[in-house]
């Protein structure tokens, strides 16, 4: 009997522990439809409620302003694509996504006097494209001033197959420059927006590589117009 009375409390403790374990597991089990557990990639972006793909790259050539094929094309007296044609060259690259196979000189020729300074809307009107999101540092609530907004907005645009043109300005020298966001990838818990830089001076391969001395001044998301 003494042996049996010692065994009973042990059995009780064992059964209680087992039940307690079941209780803990039940509470920890999220069940269907419960919020996803916290993970390193919890900041993945969504678009219309769905996660965006992890990688997107839009098909376009990487043109340089200084390509001898068009660098000397004169946009206005004494100024050439090689000098001031970064926006135009960016637009030419972007146009390929929508099947408009024009190099920078051909884009300039089609725009005539609207090529410098470049009027984006003339080109979109000519080719049934639409500027669906535009942000300008001149706006009183310029969203483009926020680098995270630019990155996330570019990712969402690219996820829909829409390239983005980003304008930047050097804070000290006030020089402006334009590049194209042509793709992105999700890597190590962060989005890297890939860019084609028209210039070889810095040749920024991505938005996050752009030196903080430059601030964003323009954001143009361009889509195809209605058929």
């Amino acid at each position: 009997m003494p042996h049996a009375s010692k065994q009973l409390p042990r059995r009780l403790i064992a059964v209680s522990l087992l039940l307690f374990l079941i209780l803990l597991l039940t509470l920890a089990w999220p069940g269907p439809g419960a919020p996803a557990p916290l993970r390193a990639d919890m900041r993945r972006l969504t678009l219309n409620g769905e996660p965006v793909p992890d990688r997107v790259h839009l098909d376009m050539p990487h043109y340089r302003q200084t390509d001898p094929a068009w660098a000397s094309y004169e946009l206005r007296p004494g100024r050439t694509i090689g000098d001031i044609g970064c926006a135009l060259t960016s637009l030419s690259m972007l146009a390929h996504v929508y099947g408009i196979q024009q190099n920078p000189a051909e884009v300039a020729a089609s725009l005539g006097s609207w090529a410098a300074p470049l009027e984006w809307e003339v080109f979109t009107t000519l080719h049934n494209l639409r500027i669906v999101r535009e942000d300008n540092l001149l706006d009183i609530d310029a969203r483009v001033a926020d680098r995270d907004w630019v990155r996330d907005s570019a990712v969402r645009a690219l996820a829909q197959g829409r390239p983005v043109i980003v304008g930047i300005q050097h804070r000290e020298h006030l020089t402006t420059h334009f590049i194209v966001a042509c793709g992105y990838r999700y890597e190590n818990g962060a989005y890297i927006v890939e860019t084609y830089d028209t210039s070889t001076n810095n040749d920024y391969p991505s938005l996050d590589a752009i030196d903080p001395a430059w601030e964003y001044i323009r954001f143009l998301e361009i889509s195809r117009g209605p058929s």
Binding site: S16, L23, T46, E121
Partner: protein, 391 residues
């Protein structure tokens, strides 16, 4: 000593642990069942909300507003008093309005409804006044691209340019006369007009490589007199709400947890404020609430009168026209009728942006809606007759 006198106690009965096992196990099992049930309840609510199309989410949790109305048996109040019980309008019964050719080629916006019921229409290549009853139109201006404009009952002010414009012209609606209002090599940015015939724009100055704001101009249209204001405030509605509540936070922010207000005002001086609280920028979720400011003699936050409950969902798109305030392309409040309405999108054939509310006629008898979408602009125009007994 007395203890020795007592009869000896019977030996204590051995404690039978087995008797406790069954009730203890039963208790734990009951607890488990209760916990499992509790664990599932909120998830059910979350699931029902998550099944809503994302661009339609906008409900005070857990009610999925914008997509359902409460059954009449559970909600005896008249429909349309709250956003959640918005009155559904069938776009299929809208009468198509014949548009000038330029507005059929490119999407357009309704800038303003004139007191005589004519509509001022704008797209990047054309600016016109259309009589929706007869289909006749007066062409105000055409451009190759980038036409921008603002209109009130007496004036249409317009210019050409993708961003800044270098010349601003004024068109007198009654006489059809046009005259140059502003001209500058550096340009002007933004077009707004108020009911007191003042035109507002930002005057730019050039700097190497770009332009920057120099002043916010208020131009009296009758005589061209220019008042230069601090460019720190460059929106008419921001100015108006700032007069009522000087501390109102109006700065947009991309930081999770940030709170601010967005203000819009109609030409009837109907002033609205939308409170925005960014919950999660990765999923574009906001908490928001729409307020009206009916009494401008009241000052501070107390002047704001709630028009909706506190809602959650994607960022609302605040749109204001005379007698109308919309929080979504298809969900809006008509002030003369004091009711919320929603355009039924079930017939949109999968295109969620197929319809958008555009304007209300001055007599509140006709609602103009956009039929078709060109990246945020309407491609067709429909007129919905609001029943005399509606709501």
């Amino acid at each position: 000593m007395s203890s020795y006198m007592r009869s000896p106690k019977p030996p204590p009965r051995p404690f039978d642990v087995n008797r406790l096992l069954l009730p203890l196990a039963t208790l734990v099992l009951v607890l488990l069942v209760v916990l499992v049930v509790i664990n599932r309840l909120p998830q059910t609510a979350t699931q029902s909300s998550a099944t809503l199309p994302p661009d339609r989410q906008g409900s005070a949790n857990p009610t999925p507003a914008l997509t359902s109305t409460l059954p009449a048996t559970e909600n005896p109040e008249p429909p349309g008093l709250r956003l959640e019980t918005a009155i559904e309008l069938d776009p299929a019964v809208a009468s198509p309005v014949q548009l000038p050719e330029a507005f059929m080629r490119r999407g357009f916006a309704v800038l303003h409804v004139l007191p005589d019921g004519r509509l001022v229409l704008l797209n990047p290549i054309s600016l016109a006044i259309l009589d929706p009853r007869s289909g006749t139109a007066v062409l105000v201006h055409e451009a190759e691209f980038g036409l921008q404009a603002a209109a009130n009952d007496r004036w249409i002010v317009y210019g050409e340019g993708g961003d800044e414009v270098f010349a601003v012209d004024a068109y007198d609606i009654a006489s059809g006369e046009q005259r140059r209002l502003l001209e500058s090599d550096a340009g002007y940015y933004g077009f707004e007009i108020d009911a007191a015939d003042r035109f507002y724009t930002t005057e730019l100055v050039t700097q190497p490589g770009s332009s920057k704001p120099a002043a916010w101009l208020a131009v009296t249209l009758a005589d061209g007199n220019i008042e230069r204001r601090d460019p720190g405030c460059r929106r008419v509605a921001d100015w108006a709400i700032g007069e009522i509540w000087p501390e109102v936070p109006l700065s947009w922010s991309y930081v999770d947890g940030a709170r601010w207000f967005q203000a819009k005002e109609s030409l009837l001086s109907e002033l609205y404020a939308l409170s925005l609280h960014r919950l999660d920028r990765s999923t574009e979720q906001f908490e928001w609430q729409l307020f009206a400011i009916p009494d401008r003699s009241r000052k501070g936050q107390d002047a704001l009168v709630a028009m909706t409950d506190l809602m959650t969902g994607i960022e609302p798109r605040l749109y204001v026209q005379n007698g109308l305030v919309a929080v979504h392309e298809t969900t809006f409040y008509l002030r003369p009728l004091e009711r919320w309405f929603r355009i039924n999108e079930d017939t949109a054939e999968g295109n969620a942006a197929a319809y958008r509310v555009l304007a209300l006629s001055p007599d509140a008898a006709t609602l103009y809606i956009g039929l078709g979408d060109d990246n945020g602009l309407a491609t067709g125009l429909g007129a919905l007759t609001l029943a005399a007994d509606e709501p």
